[in-house]
């Protein structure tokens, strides 16, 4: 039974800035969970540190607000220990692509069935606007003392090279599209990345809502009109992201190549939507292949003692026999 949106909200006071792109993402997550139709106690939202890190406190499911950069390992541990749970992981671009980069990379090759939503705004908002790993070289949002000296990471391309089996980009002011992407990511069996372009109205005065949507203001009248929107939807351009046959190397290469090219588009044209999707055995299936019990019982629910006597009842005598000398 689908949950009503109001059931998914909490009373916890929201302290994001007015006009923050995070609100759109939060709404999309609410809508996606509502559409998912699972009871809320079977859903866990894990997060890192920063403005985005507080997200779980406004979602009325189990929430695990972790450490800076470490949301993925926590989320993976939760999912692997209890695969019955739906695990959504959220965090910022500094959190995921900077301090947590090792986890971002290595989560790809594990392909655990987790959906990772990154609030990507190019700055470290909560520490007052320093450059994040996705800010381009030479750009100078208002809090930087001098233009950014580093080149930027392209998270979509990195995800593609790291084994992510679902790669998408959303835009926080297109709540409907983002909700669809999140729902697809959740329903995808494997590691999904949804990188979300999320304007920070306080510290990023370059990649603003106006910039993304090509909104221009008439100097004389102050009237705003959408002229040349930068963000566009891949699904409306005839782009086909899905690998139909994962065993067909040619098709896989082609779909990866086109996803890589799309990941490079920036500036006047910025693609949103699903860039790449492939079906591969997820980590749980790989564990179950060597440990059949895993497919039947989650480690979290595996019995190991007698409930009445509290005695440990794992029979380790076969192990000990290997060590017996007399």
């Amino acid at each position: 039974m689908a949950l009503e949106l109001k059931e998914l909200k909490t009373d916890f006071r929201n302290d994001w800035c007015v006009g923050c792109g995070d609100f759109g993402i939060l709404n999309s997550i609410h809508m996606a969970i509502s559409a998912l139709g699972k009871p809320r106690h079977e859903i866990v939202v894990a997060s890192g540190i920063g403005c985005s890190g507080k997200t779980p406190h406004w979602i009325n499911t189990y929430g695990v607000h972790t450490l800076h950069g470490r949301s993925l390992p926590f989320a993976l541990g939760i999912k692997l220990a209890n695969p019955e749970l739906t695990v959504i992981c959220v965090g910022g671009d500094g959190d995921g692509y900077g301090i947590g980069a090792a986890h971002f990379l290595n989560s790809g090759r594990r392909n655990v069935d987790v959906t990772y939503i990154v609030f990507n705004n190019g700055v470290y908002g909560l520490t007052k606007g320093q450059a994040s790993p996705t800010l381009h070289r030479g750009e100078k949002p208002k809090s930087l003392p001098s233009p950014n000296i580093n080149d930027n990471i392209n998270p979509l391309a990195v995800a593609l090279c790291s084994g992510y089996t679902f790669i998408a980009r959303g835009y926080s002011y297109d709540v409907k599209q983002l909700k669809d992407l999140i729902l697809k990511g959740i329903n995808h069996k494997g590691m999904a990345l949804i990188d979300v372009l999320q304007p920070c109205p306080t510290y990023n005065n370059l990649q603003t809502k106006e910039w993304y949507e090509g909104i221009e203001e008439d100097e004389e009248t102050g009237v705003k009109t959408k002229k040349n929107p930068r963000v566009y939807k891949l699904e409306e351009s005839g782009y086909d992201a899905v690998v139909k046959n994962p065993d067909n190397i040619e098709e896989v290469e082609h779909k990866m190549a086109q996803a890589f090219l799309k990941s490079q588009e920036w500036g006047d044209r910025i693609p949103t939507g699903v860039l790449y999707e492939i079906s591969q055995p997820d980590y749980g299936a790989r564990v179950a292949a060597r440990m059949p019990a895993y497919a039947k019982t989650a480690p979290a629910k595996m019995p190991f003692y007698d409930l009445a006597t509290k005695k440990a009842n794992t029979d380790i005598s076969p192990l000990l026999k290997d060590f017996q000398v007399v």
């Binding site: 809320r40 106690h41 866990v44 695990v64 509290k310 005695k311 000990l320 060590f323 007399v326």
Partner: protein, 619 residues
Amino acid sequence: MEYLKEIAWLIGGPQGSGVDSSASTFAKTLASGGYHIFGGREYHSNIKGEHSYYQIRASDKPVRSSVNEVHILATFEEETLHIHQKYVLPNGAILFDPTISKPESIHRKDVTLVPLPYMDLIKKVAAEFGKEKDANKLAVMKNVLSVAASLALLEYPFEQIAKTVESFFIAKKPKLAQMNVRGAEMAYNYVRENFAKTEFPWRLKPIPVPAGEKRIFLNGTQAAAMGKILAGCRFQTYYPITPASDESEFLESHPEYGCVVVQCEDEISSVCMAVGAALTGVRASTATSGPGFCLMVEGMGWSGINEVPVVIFNYQRAGPSTGLPTRFEQGDLKFAMSSGHGDFPRIIMAPGDMDEYFFDAIDAFNYAERYQVPVIVLNDKNLANSTKTISMFDYSNATIDRGVLLTDAEVTKLAKGNGKPAKGENGNFKRFHFEENGISARPVLGQENGVFWNTGDEHDEYGHITEDPDIRIKMMDKRMHKLEVASKEIPSDKKVMTFGPKDADVTVVTWGSTKGAILDAMEDLEKEGIKVRLLQVRIIHPFPMEEVVNELKNAKIKVGCEMNFQGQLIAIIREFTGIAMDANIFKYTGRPMKKDEVRDALRDIVKKHSKKVVLTHGA
């Protein structure tokens, strides 16, 4: 000619040349002949080529440490001869390869020299099996030959050797088993024929095992891993590191027990993944060594403020930094006591022998869940890589304590109150409900009516972020109070162990595996008329104040004895009790304390009033 009750034997050689398997063959042969074994293994941080060695002690009574001098040195290369010949007992024997080492390179005139033509014998075996061309590739058989030759000197019955050698290879390569047994036989006969009439005075024969006694022969990582399996650990994470990885690899090798083992990208991931898993109710753990433990402390702090039971095994090795990466030190205690920023409760255990490695694993998970705290178990490289015979574990009384972990039905009942103040509302649960003993009833992720939040921030009872000063005080008090509760509830014999007479001349204080060398030294000193008492501190945090003070307040001479530079336990004892030691024994070469050097140091402290002895033994 004299039949020995105890023997020490050492084999050395380049890493990767089979030293471990020869030592294991030698040890198992004697273990199956009724002897108690202690095997100490030393090696470099290197894959192949550097010098490594393995000392086996066998005795008719339990042995727990290595010794300075051996009865027989077995080798087939020059470096071992060079390094270890001075540690052979007078009248002992040195086995060597005459095609590699000349007798002149052995300066000892008081030992029997046994030049063993390894390759000639191996070529003969190869020929018998029609494998002449492969003789050079079978050079690794030198190991079995050196074991058989050593035991031939001792006139130990060949059938025992044959049985062990065969069991080593039979499952994988039956033909190789036959060849090795034949090689062993040739070496055995060669020594009997050519060296039976030498001065070598010692013999060894199998001894009876008490009726009904079953013994196992294993190392510390194996004992710990089996303890974890019995404890119900079904989720283990690790990042490769010496010497801790062996434990995780053991768990991964036994998928039949259902423990998911994840090799992570680093130790930060390892601890966070284990803590995440623990939130679902699984018993979760990670194993590492000092450098990895350094990376884990932020994640451990998170488990502290979120009251998540997680168990961290830290196999200590010599630091700082990479230090002596394959050597032993008890150097992480003070760090473990204060690792992580801010104050949060933790329990620190320090097992000191194979039995404690096994049983403490169960206690560690029980404490973690009962008190909802991270538990750090300070193991070490010494026991991780040492092998020992012990009585078969009797775990029939191993009990699981999950504290106030809630069933699905209990969550709903408590959430609704049912006549009592409700711990929840609208499906949400006060995970951090204030309780007198500080321990809140614990739902896990996935339970209906149990929805709560975790956060590394200070939080309210539901787990939502708060910076309210009053709640902060209550939450800090609640969490830290759990340590006082643990201190009251945990029985004294789990916190400290004592050995030796109460009216001793000297009381030694130690922790961890250094216990072994001290207990062995105590037996020697007793024969000399020096009475020693040992206080082994097993749980170091919360600090067992009462037990330690009671033991030390009337002690005549108090001696600290630990494997580090500054005396970490004795500093902690002084911090908590104000009691200072009268003398100290330290060692920081990375090589474990040997029985003899501990004995000599204690004797010097009693007789010559030495204040500080720094031990140095071991190549």
